[in-house]
Subunit: 505 residues, 2 copies
């Protein structure tokens, strides 16, 4: 067979049987990577954070699919074409690091975290054994320790999970297992009907978790909230007693520190009293709000958190560690997590290893492969220290205070309430609707304002912010200010832009 | 207050209240990132794949913790110190891309995939809505379509999950929901006891999933396997009938294409017959073996896969896409996945959006934040085409054939059986033990050989390979050959090195 045959098949076969040749060319590959890196810096990190550039380049799905030429084919493409693809993906993606991306609970960029993420990707290992992840087994432990310390626990346990929803599920599973260890082998059939308590403003992952874990969403009992969205400890107590009287077995209370929409912090101390009284597992979903623990000034919002059994916290949100970075922290010191989740697979967790098998943390997880999510947080923390992280939290509150002051000075902005956290919920009232609260169609008309402003903003690409209804409140905007890239210019722009986009409605 | 005060506190306060200044300095940050990138290329990609360098630099945990100085402090560190940290993390981490890392079902490096991973990290978005991930919503769909096509399905559904264990759990949840949709709201209490069927050689995630989802590990019924580790369809049929006679309700069969240890492919056609007869959900865990579907020559191993209801497949394993990259593929066209998992959160999945809400795929997931795992696979696939991916699979089989031939020529290597896939399971019999199979302590002594060789190999850092017992078989090595970086030199070295490390035992 000719090695340089123009016939693909022949060349292929020749290649494959030459076992002296690897299939990857390092020099070529590194050239590509280097050029891709330059494009990333230019498109995503420079242009993508430049306020003179758009936050998003809106395209209709059909057009975008066409532009990207997504189809996967039999044959490969040359490097230059692939580099164009890197550029296109960057170009048409939303710039979540842009200072005017206010859409979500993540955003911004921290270069040390990003460096950690690149290193994580290059090292491509798996957090299950010390054998394959010596550095990261130790590092995860240290980061968990550091975070637990902020909660107020000198001892305990924990694990990084692929997101806060998963962390919340782990907590439910642990609560259930603590009460009924036989659930692991026997399932739920022999057990009484179990009940979870949470507020209607808690994150939807509590519902998803209950469904996934065989508990059922009907058995998630919603506790009343006050106007600010805080769970009522009195109602919690009553609902628990009522559930018991109906033959249910309460086992888990999921409170929230920083609710998704309003940013409310449930009163943890009072809830802890109720949980103690009924001997229930107290979980704090601090996926969003947990970062206040860094701040001397604001950590009072989570007073009582040390009385919880578990805390979920997403450094990928307010701390800008980058997706995914979420932890479950546990007060437990009895090894509950491992007992609950272990399967003792002998191919991975051999019992005759030459090092301490407690370092093989993977069996604490319900995953097998588990991505290394600690390095980015560790490196960022090393770079700015606890003080630097506290400053970011404090500064976010200062920005929010400024934004709220400005809103109050402008006619069209109507706050749902003074914010407790960095979520600012407001209606924009277009001039035509002002002073017409009494009209029969007022709320109906107001509910249509946010979607139209949103559509215009997306199509022009100037900024991004989300809206939603909540309970009996019609569509309102939720602007979240926390990115370390934001300046006054951006919050001022935000207000001007909402007016520009909505004044004619 | 003096802006350049040497008093940290004063400077801090001044800074924080100046809302014109962002907390991140782009120029400094990008300088750091650039230098970190150079270190990554040098340490991880050049040295880390160089056979003259070690696969791992073994340190005892205490020493390593000390070397890394992991502790998190109040104050930050200068850039140069942080760059040293990047180098240290790289230095003491296992080089999973090294051609002599045979330890796991992942390894190797593909530069296009890695470029895609860096881009994913920089773009830092979330696969829940078209709004924040327009490119990736469309791309995920296309990649899922491409993978489904290889299964033999022109239609269907699917989702990227954080690992094969999660994909397997999703399949169980769907099977349960299809049979009893009320499980989502009511939980398992009103339902009969449900039973899952799998082989004892299936991955432990089936057990973990059953525990997590409230089904219980006792209700995972193990079906007999033959010597090669293939599930027996006859025994499956019998076990299902027996379970029914005991009042259990079988609902899910989890077969494996490429078992973790032996690499066995369950006979899908025959199992499909049994599943059809009993109307059970047939799931194929092809996390490990799925990649054979790219190969015209080897795809017969999964004949019948198109008759399954769902397939889990991890491109982060054999295809070298990088962790994490795992999909669940579904034949269903009725929207079961979304019905089963949706919570319709109005803050995220608004119903009055200006674009087609079916593009907001996030509600199909039990996660909320969901990492973008499709880009790396898409870019790699674009780079080498389906033909290139098929070649990698074919070449892996050729390497394995060569390795097995060489083993048969050497006295000390005793195969458990001829491999069906790229897992080669063997005992190394040191000279002292050869021909002594009849001795009473033979197996006992043999069981101690692999752990000692392993310890020596780790401490010298020359290569990595795993061992385990299985059923009544004492500790044996499982060497997996699939990395596109491997050459004959590496497989030859592997054999020599095992002999060198074990000849005196
Ligand atoms: C309060 C709260 N809990 C949990 C979550 C879920 O976290 P994740 O998106 O990482 O699953 C969120 C995310 O929006 C949240 O706001
Ligand atoms: C056959 C099989 N299924 C499932 C898994 C689990 O996949 P993951 O590690 O991505 O959770 C593995 C991983 O080793 C496997 O070998």
């Amino acid at each position: 067979m000719l090695p340089f045959s123009s016939d693909g098949q022949a060349k292929k076969t020749a290649n494959l049987h030459d076992l002296n040749e690897p299939l990857i060319n390092h020099a070529e590959g590194q050239l590509f990577l280097n050029e891709a890196f330059q494009i990333i810096v230019e498109e995503v990190l420079c242009k993508g954070t430049d306020i003179k550039q758009k936050v998003c380049e809106w395209k209709e799905p059909e057009e975008l699919a066409h532009l990207l030429d997504l189809q996967l084919r039999e044959t490969g493409e040359p490097q230059c074409r692939l580099l164009e693809r890197v550029r296109d993906v960057a170009k048409y993606s939303v710039k979540t690091s842009h200072p005017r991306f206010f859409n979500q609970q993540f955003g911004g960029v921290d270069y040390h975290a990003l460096g950690g993420r690149f290193l994580t990707e290059a090292l491509n290992t798996n957090l299950f054994t010390y054998e394959v992840a010596p550095v990261f087994v130790l590092m995860e432990k240290e980061v968990l320790r550091g975070l637990r310390q902020l909660v107020g626990w000198t001892e305990g346990d924990g694990i990084f999970c692929p997101g806060g929803s998963t962390s919340n599920m782990y907590a439910m599973n642990l609560a259930r297992y603590r009460l009924f260890p036989e659930v692991k082998s026997q399932g739920l059939w022999r057990l009484p009907r179990l009940a979870i308590f949470t507020s209607p403003e808690s994150h939807y992952s509590v519902q998803k978790g209950a469904a996934f874990m065989g508990i059922g969403t009907d058995n998630v009992i919603l506790v009343k909230v006050d106007d600010g969205g805080h769970m009522s400890p009195e109602d919690l107590d009553e609902k628990i007693q009522f559930a018991k009287s109906q033959g249910l077995v309460p086992f888990h209370v999921s409170c929230t520190s920083g609710t998704t929409v309003q940013g409310a912090f449930d009163p943890l101390h009072h809830i802890a009293d109720v949980c103690e009284k009924h001997k229930l597992w107290m979980h704090v979903d601090a996926a969003w709000g947990g970062s206040v623990l860094f701040s001397k000034q604001h950590r009072h919002l989570m007073k009582g958190v040390d009385r919880a059994n578990s805390v979920a916290w997403n450094p990928h949100k307010m701390l800008v560690a980058g997706l995914q970075c979420s932890v479950l922290l546990l007060k437990d010191t009895t090894g509950l997590l491992k007992q609950c989740n272990s399967a003792n697979a002998t191919y991975l967790f051999q019992q005759d290893k030459f090092y301490d098998m407690n370092l093989d943390v993977g069996d604490k997880s319900v995953q097998c492969s588990r991505k290394v999510d600690c390095l980015k947080l560790w490196l960022m923390w090393k770079a700015v220290g606890s003080i630097g992280l506290a400053e970011r939290v404090d500064k976010a509150f200062i920005h929010v205070r400024y934004l709220v002051e400005q809103m109050k000075k402008r006619e069209g902005f109507h706050l749902l309430r003074d914010p407790e956290f960095v979520n600012v919920c407001f209606w924009f009232i277009p001039p035509d609707l002002r002073g017409k609260e009494g009209n029969a169609d007022y709320w109906e008309r107001l509910s249509k304002v946010a979607p139209v402003i949103k559509e215009r903003m997306m199509k022009q690409g100037t900024m991004m912010v989300g809206y939603q209804p909540l309970g009996n409140k019609v569509n309102f905007f939720r602007v979240i200010v926390f990115s370390p890239l934001v300046t006054k210019k951006d919050t001022d722009f935000f207000l001007d832009e909402i007016e520009r986009l909505g004044n004619d409605l």
